[in-house]
């Protein structure tokens, strides 16, 4: 009886009742308190879902807005790069030309008959540096950045990822993957991901988790490539996290400047959930 009522209520909210059924439905609403309460409760549940859905959609649109704003500012960067490149090229050309000149006269030197003048041997006062004697290069920063990476990297988790504990039904492959991910067994999670069906393997939400598992197991280059792909598509509910994890990849790879650019972008974005983390990390890198 109760199950039938639930089905009826669901059909009512799905606009699937006939005219006669709607009339009967309304009659029960006015006379049956329990039924009316059940309808009210269902309506509230739908409203709760709608609120959550709207919030998710709003976050998605906000991320898209940030992307559009960033893209609108992009054309300035190539111009800057071009100008810097031209300036550097001109400077290098000037320096080479200067080196090729015998002196640095501003006007052509007058012709002097120097046949009888002994030309002093000019000694290069700077010692020549042979490859073997090259001064030691500064210690690579990779080790230091990897240490910072280790301090900051934590595989992404939020309460929405917590698997539903279900004892009565068997876990689906994607549930199994998420369970292993949640438990921090990233090697097994990666293996479980490989056994997912095509639909699940193309889900950007799951791919984001996979990128985290790759990072957790030291497969940084693969994680970076995947995160870049996800970032271009911008289709998952974790979009706001991409730059943070990509910055950590760059850090691990020793690409400090790339990491800094990403972190500065995050730190400047008031809507980014990683704003504080990025500010702290930037501070630690100085």
């Amino acid at each position: 009886m109760e199950e039938q009522d639930q089905e009826l209520i669901e059909r009512y909210f799905g606009n699937a009742l006939s005219k006669a059924e709607i009339a009967e439905f309304r009659r029960r609403m006015s006379g049956d308190t329990n039924f009316r309460e059940a309808v009210q409760l269902h309506e509230d549940a739908l409203e709760a879902i709608r609120l959550e859905g709207t919030e998710t959609l709003r976050a998605r649109l906000a991320a898209k807005g940030r992307e559009l704003d960033a893209a609108a500012q992009k054309p300035r960067i190539p111009w800057l790069w071009w100008l810097t490149g031209i300036a550097v090229a001109l400077f290098v050309a000037w320096a080479i030309w200067q080196q090729q000149q015998p002196g640095t006269p501003s006007a052509p030197a007058p012709a002097i008959d120097n046949r009888n003048i002994a030309t002093p041997q000019v000694k290069d006062t700077l010692p020549a540096v042979s490859p073997a004697e090259k001064p030691p290069e500064p210690a690579p920063k990779t080790i230091a950045t990897q240490r910072v990476f280790a301090a900051y990297f934590k595989p992404y988790k939020d309460p929405s990822l917590e698997p539903a504990r279900r004892g009565d039904t068997e876990q689906s492959p994607s549930e199994r993957f998420q369970q292993l991910y949640w438990d921090g067994d990233h090697r097994s999670a990666l293996a479980a991901f490989d056994s997912l069906g095509a639909t699940a393997q193309n889900s950007d939400n799951l791919l984001f988790l996979r990128a985290n598992s790759l990072l957790a197991t030291g497969q940084v280059a693969a994680a970076g490539t995947l995160l870049e792909q996800l970032r271009r598509r911008d289709r998952s509910r974790f979009s706001a996290q991409y730059d943070w994890y990509l910055a950590l990849c760059r850090l691990h790879e020793g690409r400090l400047r790339d990491a800094e650019i990403l972190l500065q972008r995050i730190a400047a974005d008031p809507g980014s959930p990683r704003r504080t983390d990025a500010a702290h990390l930037l501070r630690d890198l100085k």
Partner: protein, 193 residues
């Protein structure tokens, strides 16, 4: 009044087919135009304009998904701008005096109530309690309920996405999640009464 462009109708079809990229395309397509247009009419900052534009796009999406918006009497742009305009008015932003009129003003004069899509505020605190109830649910339940009742996906689509063995498993899981949500709402209601 303009006949709907084919691309606008395509957007409705795409949304009905569950293609979420269509919402983003719609949002991106007229966003800069709306900011310019509304910026001339309201003393609003960029944040307000962004909120109004997001509200308009979300309203469009929910109207389409609920079946209330099947085809457009006006271009999608006109529909969205009119809703965004109403949102900014409801924010009680000071309007600027404008000496010209355009197609949106004409539509708003003719069909103003059509674009009054402001949510009902309901009992104070109720929205917050519903919001909290949903947050209390497990991630998988939340995701599945959203897919079914917000994104309007079919049981079959959800079954494929979650790789359930059959649709019965999906239906049973959804029922269990919905029941759990109702229980949470019910107990929250009981503690506040």
């Amino acid at each position: 009044m303009q006949a709907p462009g084919s691309s606008d109708d395509d957007i409705i079809s795409a949304l009905r087919a569950g293609q979420m990229q269509a919402v983003e395309e719609l949002y991106a397509r007229y966003r800069a135009d709306f900011f310019r247009w509304a910026g001339r009419r309201f003393d609003a900052n960029r944040h307000d304009l962004e909120d109004a534009w997001q509200d308009a796009v979300i309203a469009f999406y929910t109207q389409v998904m609920s079946g209330k918006l099947i085809s457009l009497r006006y271009e999608a742009r006109v529909w969205l701008f009119s809703v965004g305009y109403k949102r900014l008015l409801n924010l009680r932003r000071k309007t600027k005096r404008i000496l010209w009129q355009d197609d949106i003003d004409k539509v708003l004069r003719q069909s103003a109530p059509e674009f009054d899509l402001q949510e009902q505020s309901g009992q104070p605190g109720k929205k917050e309690s519903l919001y909290t109830a949903m947050k209390t649910m497990s991630g998988q339940c939340r995701e599945m309920l959203m897919q079914r009742y917000f994104l309007e996906k079919s049981i079959e689509e959800i079954q494929q996405e979650w790789e359930h063995n059959n649709t019965n498993t999906t239906s049973a899981t959804l029922s269990r999640c919905l029941k759990r949500l109702k229980d949470i709402i019910k107990s929250a209601r009981a503690t506040t009464v």
